[in-house]
């Protein structure tokens, strides 16, 4: 059955491989570590490559302003879902369908305009 859905099959293979990687990589790392000799010292635990030794807790509370961007991103992500099948079909679509999609975009853009005018995009 998958033969008739080449691209889908590719996606399926990727899906399986990614999930397998999620599960197998930690196991593989553990296995690799089993046979290794361990003689740790402070240098081995310093940050590799670049950067500084962190001061204080690394698990800090992030600035909540990121939240606005996340929310707007979700709104447009959902909009993209509606536009994706529409775009695939657009070749056969008439003026009505174009208008419907434009109306949808305009409605969501009002929310964007609102956010813009309210200064959400500014980092004060």
């Amino acid at each position: 059955m998958l033969n008739s859905f080449g691209l889908l099959g590719m996606f399926l293979i990727i899906a399986i491989l990614v999930t397998a990687a999620f599960v197998l990589i930690p196991i593989a790392l553990r296995l690799v570590g089993l046979g290794a000799r361990r003689n740790p010292n402070t240098d081995k635990y310093t940050i590799y490559e670049c950067g500084m030794v962190s001061v204080g807790k690394t698990h800090i509370q992030f600035n909540f302003r990121y939240y606005f961007f996340a929310v707007l991103f979700v709104a447009f992500d959902v909009l993209a879902i509606f536009l994706f099948p529409w775009a695939l079909w657009m070749g056969n679509a008439g003026v009505f369908e174009l208008g419907a999609a434009v109306l949808l975009v305009v409605i969501v853009l009002i929310g964007y305009l609102y956010a813009w005018k309210k200064g959400v995009m500014q980092w004060k």
Partner: protein, 162 residues
């Protein structure tokens, strides 16, 4: 056959990761397992030839919902303490198991009718036609647009300093 094997692998991983989401005490790891659960669900959609749903699953659930969830974890303090303990664990488990039993037993015993239509080939363009054409769901799509507008306004209202 290959599809069946793929389905069972994906389904098993999906269930295991879903259990991990609710049992792990570290919220961040729970979020990561939620992503795994979403991804396997997308894979299951592929085995059912539902390519549009699979794409949606990846785009929205992994691309947006999981990101939002991880953002939310980053905004909180003291996430290391993990999930607060739940006093109602046992009654909730009983209710959950009973509900699952009822749902599974009625789904298994029910003689599902065979659809008279041939299974349609997964075609995202057809979905576009259904959604936007005059005889389709063009009005509900616009309602969904209004819903996004309300959600965007509301999210901003709720987060601004009161």
């Amino acid at each position: 056959m290959a599809v069946d094997i793929a389905f069972w692998i994906l389904a098993a991983i999906a269930v295991v990761s879903a259990v991990a989401v609710v049992t792990l005490r570290d919220v961040f790891r729970a979020a990561i397992f939620l992503i795994l659960c979403f991804f396997t669900t997308a894979g299951i959609f592929v085995t059912l030839n539902a390519d549009f749903l699979a794409a949606m699953q990846v785009l929205v659930y992994i691309g947006a919902v999981a990101i939002l969830l991880i953002f939310a974890i980053l905004f909180t303090r003291d996430v290391q303490q993990g999930n607060p303990s739940n006093k109602l664990k046992v009654p909730a488990a009983i209710v959950g198991v009973v509900l699952l039993g009822v749902m599974v037993s009625s789904a298994v015993t029910f003689g599902w009718p065979e659809s008279v239509y041939l299974p349609e080939l997964a075609d995202t363009a057809d979905i576009g036609q259904r959604l936007f054409s005059e005889n389709g769901y063009v009005v509900p799509v616009q309602i969904a647009g209004l819903m996004l507008l309300a959600a965007a306004i509301g999210a901003i209202v709720l987060m601004r300093e009161k």
